[in-house]
Amino acid sequence: MPDLAISKIDAFALREPVSKRAYTVVRVVTRSGITGYGECGLVSAADLERTRAAALGREATASESIARDLAPMPRLRAAINMAVLDLVGKSAKAPVYQLLGGPTRAKARALARLWGNTDASLAASLERVRAMGFRAVVVPTPVPSARNQGQTFALASVRRLEEFRKAAPDMDFVLDGDGSLTPGDASTLAAAFERFHLLWFDEPCRVGNLSAIRKISSETVTPLGFGRSLERPADFQELLREQVIDVVRPDLAFYGISQIRRIAALAETYYTAVAPNHLGGPIGTAAALHLAASLPNFFIQQIPLPEADEDRRMRAELLAQTVEKPVDGYFPLPSEPGLGVTVREQAFEKYAERIQ
């Protein structure tokens, strides 16, 4: 067994040239020279120093113990978690999902968000995203012209989705309220879509507004998704206990693999599906696929599919393999040891963002 004590931790902040989406790649190296990579949102230099102080010298296999000590820096905890699983997997010559008791499935259902915000731009991207192999997409609600506009708004939303279903009958849809609708509009829409059979209605209203969520969930059977901004597992527990959530959406860059597995275990006891939120880069996608292959109640993995060619090129340049190409609606699982990807560090410099 090689020496798996952590000897070096580095972070590389990256930014997509067009979308300006930013994230951090974290590299962990052991004394024996094995390297693992993880990913999270932007982090501060101070948090990086604290993380080094807490994690350097620790056995990489003790990922839960390391995670406990990194709790004050949840983003870095997430990235370090992916990185240590990556390197332990490489050391054991096993894909990460095997470390986690998987695989539970042979492939993972894929989800992408459509680009644009008008009916025309969304319809155009629907066609493109379908051609890329996706069979499920996130569609934003139309931008309301005023608060609580009721019928006009409901009609515009239903018309948008019905047109899309006509254009692509084999596609499924997640409607995204982005947490921005009033409880009244959210409720109206949830009812209007009851017989349309959305996969689910994501963040129909603010997740903190529990009484509004309770009302929507008790009045309609449209499945509701929440959680991409929730930063405490107890918040998921509350939504599950209140019987108001159908899809739990912990953020990958905040929780990492191991913490989402705990939230998923909780959701499983309520027969509730997990669809991790993912706004970062392709290393995160690889981690998400291993997570998917370890969960019994995984449903779908969203990736932040960039619209611009330059941004997509960046994602391709970061890895030697492609992990973000679905086949007939499903991502194949990575099969190589660790996260199953080879990171090309020469791309770091090209897309570097300064860590403050």
Binding site: H197, S218, Y271
Partner: protein, 432 residues
């Protein structure tokens, strides 16, 4: 420690015989206490023999029957059934584990023996212990009825309805045309209700195509069977609360008799969420053991109909108690029966005496098949077949049949067969 002194005072002689270094745990003191229990007033009957039979009809069956035969000192024998799908050998072993509880015991003290088997098992319920107790309990009731010269339903205070026990068959029709033919047969036989399973397998969130297919198939049942035949649809816990909620709301216009097991049984609140959001009656309970196992479901107002299974719940004693616990909430009983003929016949006796009885299942089609022929051969009458839409009441003492061990010889136990394993499109485990 006071507790220890108490036991030592009581069981000093026994303590003295303990092996040095034996496990030092309070449980080990129990036999001494048992020896001091006063004898209960008894009958002259004693249980002298316990036999367990694994009976395999077809080699690919996941449910070889588990039959129990209790013998007594005056020649009366009792039969019971503890068939547990996919776990036959475990139940057979568990019944054998109860041998010491039973040999020498008075078979008339059914409730007392039931309590001893359940409470003294310490871990109480669970399907294996529940099915083992079920088989033994039915055999005890059979003996008691025979000893007293009464069919069990009369011991229970029945019949509520002298015409017999209303029942339903399973509808195995795949097309509108087949359903229409089935309707004609049903009308000619006086059958008033059918149940069928929802087709396919469901992830915890589902696509439009899958939901749409399920809704169409359910609507076709009503169209084919007509407006005046009751229809029940078994979701078989294949659906999550999220998916089931959509489906049961979609089928509200069909006015179904009930939908069954809209989600798995562990989380009662999750099932409550489905029930709250639809007018479609919800039935469940075939996997629940003892009345304790049904209490939360009843208390929370989740179900309209309970489908207790006499071969798992704890036999006649426990099925009757479930109906008693459900009755104050006016919850109906539609007992499950998908195993062998002994459990089926035992259920009819309880059905006939329940004020809140709705309908009795039998996992058979409207036309009898091979299985039904074998049952008739064993018992000498067409067991669990309806006449004019009702199961006739078994009128002979006890459970109302004679069974010779030799009749089972043709179907020796072929070992436990696992239940079905099915998977989703991505290869992950699916509920069936």
């Amino acid at each position: 420690m006071r507790r220890r002194q108490f036991f030592e005072g009581m069981a000093g002689a026994w303590m003295a015989r303990r092996l040095p270094g034996a496990v030092d745990c309070g449980c080990a003191l129990a036999p001494a206490q048992a020896a001091m229990a006063p004898p209960l007033p008894g009958s002259k009957l004693k249980i002298t023999g316990l036999k367990v039979f694994g009976v395999t009809l077809a080699t690919d069956s996941d449910r070889p029957y588990v039959f129990v035969k209790l013998e007594t000192n005056d020649g009366i024998v009792g039969w019971g059934e503890g068939t547990l799908e996919g776990k036959a050998a475990a139940v057979i072993a568990c019944i054998q584990d109860f041998r010491d509880f039973l040999i020498g015991a008075d078979p008339m003290q059914v409730e007392h023996l039931w309590q001893s088997m359940y409470v003294h098992s310490f871990y109480r319920g669970g399907p294996v212990i529940g099915s083992a107790i079920s088989g033994i309990d039915q055999a005890l009731w059979d003996i008691r009825g025979k000893a007293l010269g009464l069919p069990v339903y009369k011991l229970l205070g029945g019949p509520m309805d002298p015409r017999g026990v209303r029942g339903y068959y399973h509808a195995n029709a795949r097309s509108l045309e087949e359903l229409r033919r089935l309707r004609e047969t049903a009308v000619s036989q006086g059958v008033s209700c059918f149940k069928t399973g929802i087709p396919g397998y469901y992830e915890w969130i589902e696509t439009h195509a899958t939901i749409d297919r399920a809704v169409r198939s359910m609507a076709m049942l009503r169209e084919g069977l007509g407006p005046d035949i009751d229809i029940a649809i078994d979701f078989h816990a294949k659906t999550s609360p999220s998916v089931a909620s959509i489906l049961v709301k979609e089928v509200e216009p069909l006015n179904l008799l009930f939908i069954e097991e809209p989600c798995p049984p562990e989380n009662v609140q999750a099932m409550a969420r489905i029930a709250r959001r639809s007018t479609t009656p919800i039935a469940t309970g075939e996997r629940l053991i003892t009345a304790y196992g049904c209490r939360e479901l009843i208390e929370m107002g989740v179900v309209d109909i309970l489908q207790t299974d006499i071969n798992h719940v704890g036999g006649i004693t426990a099925l009757w108690k479930v109906s008693a616990v459900a009755e104050p909430s006016n919850i109906s009983m539609a007992p499950h029966a998908c195993e062998g003929p002994i459990g089926g016949l035992a259920t009819l006796h309880v059905d006939a005496a329940m004020p809140n009885f709705l309908i009795q299942e039998i996992c058979s089609g409207v036309e009898p098949g091979e299985k039904e022929k074998i049952w008739a051969e064993w018992l000498g009458f067409p067991a669990m077949r309806m006449v004019n839409g009702r199961f006739p009441l078994p009128e002979k003492p006890g459970l109302g049949f004679e069974l010779q061990e030799s009749a089972l010889n043709k179907y020796p136990f072929g070992g436990t067969r696992p239940m079905a394993r099915v998977f989703h499109k991505d290869g992950s485990v699916a509920e069936w």
